[in-house]
């Protein structure tokens, strides 16, 4: 009750009674209201896999009206209903971007890069969040790319076009490199999206091709980090197993785009899957394995901190996000 009265006196919005005026305010000295901070916390999260220290780092997220054809093989209304059921803003879809840093004790390894700073107000946050996590970009030894889509590779460059990780070796999947760097494939690009991807790959990577090592599936791309064939999304799309001691984590890259749609509905085809049927088969195989071994999964397009476990749920799957560990 005192709250209402006090507020009425301060704002003058309500009738001030004679009694209230007659009685001097007895509350503590008036203080100006504290302004809102208006800024999010740094978005990084640490956890361990065996002896390895991992840092999940957000590059941001994009919330956009769901594009026509975002899900190729179901009506737009159905895709929108799924997004809304997952608490996304009506008519819109949110796509987060989350690279991972692995400190193996011997090497500091970055898996995928996000976008360069300043790409948009809500993306290109990787460098700032990396710095907030206390990691110097110059200390990164290896940058491993899962595939050559812009949200995974563009952050190799600074906003000015320099090298964002000047001391790192860059590793790219050999089949993806071959696909995107082929002039013949580029000339056959079926639509503007694909043309844009071919042009972007070259813009980002062509003049540093000599710094890029091509890796094959089955190889260790860094100590304890093995490349796994997860093709379909792109011809060279790669997932990773990070193993230390008896612990193992799967880095799924883009086995699904946002899980709210494509993990719940593994047969849906996101617009970005180059071979949708192969991507679908990869998805089922990957999640059946992950569910059976109760593997921890890092997903580039999962909501930050982008970690969870997958369980089977009817014909689809369900992502169970990890419980944040407050004490590391």
């Amino acid at each position: 009750m005192t709250e209402f009265t006090r507020r009425a006196v301060v704002t003058g919005a309500a009738a001030v009674t004679a009694a209230a005026i007659a009685q001097p305010p007895i509350s503590r000295p008036a203080r100006a209201a504290t302004p809102p901070v208006g800024k999010q916390a740094p978005s990084f999260y640490r956890h361990k896999v065996g002896d390895y220290e991992l840092t999940q780092i957000s590059d941001g997220a994009r919330t956009i009206p769901m594009p026509e054809g975002f899900v190729r093989n179901v009506p737009r209304e159905q895709a929108l209903a799924a997004a809304e059921a997952a608490y996304m803003p009506k008519g819109q879809v949110t796509i987060p971007f989350n690279p991972v840093v692995v400190n193996t004790g011997l090497k500091l390894v970055l898996i995928d890069t996000g976008f360069p700073p300043g790409t948009s107000p809500t993306t290109g946050l990787f460098q700032a969040n990396l710095a907030a996590a206390g990691i110097d970009a110059k200390a990164i030894d290896i940058v491993v790319l899962s595939h050559l889509h812009p949200d995974h590779i563009n952050g190799v460059r600074t906003a000015e076009g320099g090298l964002a990780f000047p001391n790192a070796e860059i590793k790219a999947p050999a089949p993806d490199w071959a696909f995107w760097m082929s002039d013949e494939n580029m000339s056959k690009a079926a639509n503007d999206m694909m043309k844009g991807y071919f042009a972007n790959t070259r813009k980002v990577l062509s003049d540093i091709a000599g710094k890029v090592t091509r890796y094959e599936w089955g190889q260790e791309v860094a100590p304890g980090i093995t490349a796994l064939d997860a093709s379909g999304h792109t011809p060279g799309h790669t997932a990773f197993a990070v193993a230390s001691g008896s612990a193992r984590m799967l880095v799924q890259s883009d086995v699904t785009n946002i899980p709210e749609l494509f993990l719940r509905n593994p047969d849906w085809h996101v617009a970005f899957d180059i071979d949708p049927n192969k991507a679908m088969a990869t998805r089922r195989k990957f999640y059946d394995m992950a569910a059976a071994e109760k593997a921890l999964i890092a997903g580039f397009h999962f909501a930050f901190p982008s970690l969870g476990h997958v369980e089977k749920d009817g014909a689809g799957y369900r992502l169970v996000p990890i419980a944040w560990k407050a004490v590391f």
Partner: protein
């Protein structure tokens, strides 16, 4: 490939160094040291015009040796932990406060464990500092109920007021129950109940003029209404925070202890649930409402940042964390 060559070259240098009595350069091969520290536990989100900051007070990690729940067997608790992808032999009890900036008032809902309750709890002051919040700027503290993990943070280690300029608001029924000498005398000596009676008196000693008792239905801060959710304790209170079209329910301990387990097993009685059957009725009533109306909910003992949605799943419930937004 170049990496292997470089390593071979380094090894060669090292070999040569040893042979010539020189030490190899350690810095060339040393990886960046592990950070070994979690990110600060705060997260911001908006409810209408209000800025909410979820603040983490830490986690208590208890070894699971006997069932902590009155009507659940140890094996059932272990199975529930495993189904939730939590370690089977450990209970991690997390504590999260909500700070509400209404534009005119800075209101803190509950205060955490306070000092002296272990190295992994009592982190509210540190996380407030990380969030840039000065404890002196907090205008109002609203207490949901009188368990130690909610009121302990009112005092600093030397017994001073942790939030010196704040009015303290407490549920009238909670005050009446715990301050009653008859109730205290009936609590079995050495029991948690007796200890809690003593702790309540220690915390509130000498604070008479700073403490306001509120009734259910009252506004305890601008747009913040107290809601009867008794059962966990006689005066246990939840809050509705409303600003414009935005609405948040701060549930306090409608599910307590490891809250995720009580969502999946809503009939279980936590040790702290003073009236178990009433706590179950309250739980079902609140969750049926927020699930139907898709109202955002903050839970004191849910994993940080402890905000999300409740979905019905047969006769139990499922927590769907709100997607972390990397920008505010």
């Amino acid at each position: 490939m170049s990496k292997i060559t470089r390593r071979a070259a380094l090894a060669g240098v090292a070999g040569a160094g040893a042979a010539s009595g020189l030490q190899p350069s350690a810095s060339a091969q040393a990886a960046a040291p592990a950070a070994a520290r979690q990110a600060a536990g705060f997260y911001r989100y908006k409810i209408g015009d209000y800025e909410i900051t979820a603040i983490n007070d830490g986690v208590r990690q208890d070894k699971l040796e006997t069932s902590p729940y009155r009507n659940a067997k140890l094996e059932e608790v272990q199975a529930a932990l495993e189904a939730t992808f939590l370690p089977k032999n450990q209970m991690s009890i997390v504590f999260n406060q909500a700070l509400v900036n209404t534009g005119s008032k800075l209101v803190l809902l509950d205060t955490g464990n306070g000092p002296g309750r272990g190295p992994t709890v009592g982190m509210l002051p540190a996380n407030l500092a990380a969030a840039g919040v000065d404890p002196k700027t907090i205008d109002t503290i609203v207490i949901s109920h009188f368990h130690g993990d909610h009121i302990g943070g009112l005092r600093t280690a030397d017994g001073q007021l942790a939030f010196p300029n704040a009015e303290i608001k407490v549920p009238a029924r909670e005050w009446a129950y715990w301050m009653d000498d008859g109730n205290m005398s009936r609590a079995p000596e050495g029991s948690n109940l007796a200890n809690n009676h003593r702790n309540v008196r220690r915390i509130f000693a000498g604070l008479g003029d700073k403490v306001t008792k509120y009734e259910w239905g009252a506004e305890v801060g601008p747009g913040i209404t107290a809601m009867d959710t008794n059962g966990h304790t006689p005066g246990h209170t939840s809050f509705v925070v409303a600003s414009g079209p935005g609405k948040l329910i701060v549930q306090s301990d409608v599910t307590a202890h490891v809250a995720l387990l009580f969502l999946r097993n809503p009939e279980w009685h936590a040790g702290g649930d003073m009236d178990g059957p009433q706590a179950v009725r309250t739980r079902r009533k609140l969750y049926d409402m927020v699930a139907t109306d898709r109202i955002l909910l903050a839970g004191y003992h849910l994993p940080f940042p402890a905000v999300g949605y409740i979905e019905k799943d047969g006769s139990s419930y499922r927590f769907v964390p709100a997607a972390w937004s990397p920008v505010l």
